[in-house]
Amino acid sequence: MFQIRIHGRGGQGVVTAAEMLSVAAFREGRHSQAFPSFGSERTGAPVVAFCRIDEREIRLREPVMRPDALIIQDPTLLHQVEVFAGIVPDGFIVINTRRSFEELGVGDFVQGFHAERLCTLNATEMALRHVGRPVPNAALLAGFAAVTGRISLDSVIAAIRDKFAGKVAEANVAAAREAFEFVERQAEKRSHAQAN
């Protein structure tokens, strides 16, 4: 079972992200479960959502305590909430930021992680460009897809279209595509760097 935890703030589509992720996995014939950290949070307050993906029926209802992957939609949360709590040693971390892990001041923390499982991308900027609003979730999901390879970009796009309609959907799709390519390119660079 693969477990994802998504951190963000109310209004950033954190819950929607988890739901889209589950829909994407469902489209690939897998069982999945998405649920919010049930609360009455208002816009701006820290929010958490979860997603589980498995080949068999998922019965577990506890919150994700040991995530295999983290999606952090808002880097300003890093020092407010224990976003890394319970992350597995070789887990995936996707952060919405224009800076690097080092610049974010969590370089030491991610020392032990596989470099290729760490990913930062400026999803908000991409969202603003394509969607016109700072809703980074679609782009981040695409980034997640790219860095984890757990789901295909097509599934993410299908999930986006399942959730949104018309212009909004296509704008998010565009943002997703850009994010996916961006992360792929980062990976290539990294592998070249290693090669050399």
Partner: protein, 417 residues
């Protein structure tokens, strides 16, 4: 048809498939998504003919439902928590009048302190109101139970409450199989009311009944629920034949064949319990699970059979009978004749406190070692409790309790657990 959708959406689609004629809605979390979805369907005529009525309170919601049902319409509403308590008088009345209303209760705690998260206190507070109470383990079961509920209620002329854990199920996205309309129509016949307000055949419904007949009326209510105990398994089976799913019924057992220890629970927590039990089994423990689907009427005989071989029973429940302990466990004891001491009550998940495999494994371990207290509170911060008690002891005006506890545990509202 398989869909990856939110639990509330799934229930809304199930209700729509049952062709309700009157739906009353009053918003309260976490029930809102269900009636919102139904409202959309009625407005778009996807669900027709149907009257969707935005009422001014839960009390009115149930009252409108009473009127609609008495006039022969298939009637649905949904509520939770404070809402269920606010409509309580009408809830009892609907049962007393024998009106087959179906209501979803998105289980949620009862204040004060106000708390919007999940537990079973709301449904349990109404356990003696005369309604049939069914608890869903998954969204698929929640969906299926609604279809069964209309069939059951209308046949017995009794209202049915379908309980599903608030947020945990209502807001969870998972895979559900939405049955085709023709199958639902085949399973659920037209509503043929036992009594109806009709000028062609006038009757007075809701007469005042004195001592000379009240006992009989109440006995008949009981008898009707006893009859339900016989019918529910049959209909679950018929449901299985039509839809190919073994959902509903009175209860479900999991790995209880050779179990010394049986965990009894209701609702969505069963999933977590089953996973925990698998882990314990892997470590060689002889443990199983008994999931209660039908809490009212209480399936005394069935539970008794299921627990026959068990040496000890751990009842995990999301509600507290303050001053007594467990509510479900009190019911279980009646079906565990002669060995009430071996029934342990574990109160868990009140007000949305997460119930984790780890914590479950710990208390079940204790149970199997015979170390578990008769009444246990899962993951209770005893330190915080003691510090509050100590302050109360010192100060007469020790301030509001809830705030005191929050201060002690230093909780953040958005904390995951």
């Amino acid at each position: 048809m398989l869909k990856q959708i939110e639990g509330s959406q799934a229930v809304a689609e199930a209700v729509a498939l049952c062709r309700p004629e009157v739906i009353c809605a009053y918003p309260i979390s976490p029930q809102t998504h269900i009636v919102e979805a139904l409202g959309r369907m009625v407005k778009s005529r996807a669900l027709a003919p149907c009257e969707f009525i935005n009422v001014e309170s839960e009390f009115a919601a149930m009252s409108v439902a009473i009127g609609a049902s008495a006039a022969g319409a298939r009637t649905y509403t949904a509520t939770a928590s404070q809402g269920l308590l606010f409509m309580s008088e009408a809830v009892f009345n609907a049962a007393g009048l024998g009106l087959p209303i179906v209501m979803t209760v998105a289980n949620r705690a009862i204040g004060a302190p106000i708390n919007i998260w999940n537990d079973h206190t709301d449904a349990m507070s109404q356990r003696d109101c005369g309604w049939i109470q069914l608890f869903a383990e998954t969204n698929q079961e929640a969906l299926d139970l609604h279809i069964q509920a209309f069939r059951l209620g209308e046949e017995l002329s009794l209202p049915v409450m379908v309980c599903m854990d608030g947020f945990i199920l209502t807001h969870a996205y998972e895979r559900v199989d939405i049955p085709p309309q023709e199958k639902v129509d085949a399973y659920l016949p037209r509503f043929e009311p036992r009594q109806v307000l009709d000028p062609a055949e006038p009757v007075s419904i809701g007469a005042m009944v004195g001592p000379e007949a009240f006992m009989e009326v109440r006995y008949l209510a009981h008898a009707r629920q006893m009859r339900a105990l016989e019918l529910i398994p049959d209909w679950a089976e018929e449901f299985w034949r039509v839809f190919g799913r073994d959902t509903g019924g009175l209860m479900h057992t999991y790995r209880t064949e050779d179990a010394d220890t049986v965990v009894v629970a209701l609702g969505s927590v069963l999933g977590t319990v089953k996973d925990t039990v698998d882990e314990l089994r892997d470590r060689g423990a002889k443990i199983g699970v008994l999931g209660i689907t039908c809490f009212r009427p209480w399936p005394a005989a069935a539970v008794q059979r299921a627990l026959l071989k068990a040496k000890r029973v751990v009842v995990l429940e999301k509600s507290l009978a303050v001053g007594l302990g467990g509510i479900v466990s009190t019911n279980v004891r009646t079906s565990y004749a002669g060995r009430p001491d071996s029934v342990h009550t574990v109160i868990a998940g009140l007000g949305g406190r997460a119930i984790t495999r780890a914590s479950l494994a710990r208390v079940l371990g204790l149970a199997m070692e015979g170390e578990l207290a008769p009444l246990e509170f899962l993951d209770l911060d005893m330190g915080a409790v003691e510090r509050v008690l100590a302050r109360e002891h010192e100060l007469r005006r020790s301030g509001p309790l809830a705030e005191a506890v929050l201060r002690e545990v230093g909780a953040v509202a958005s904390r995951a657990g």
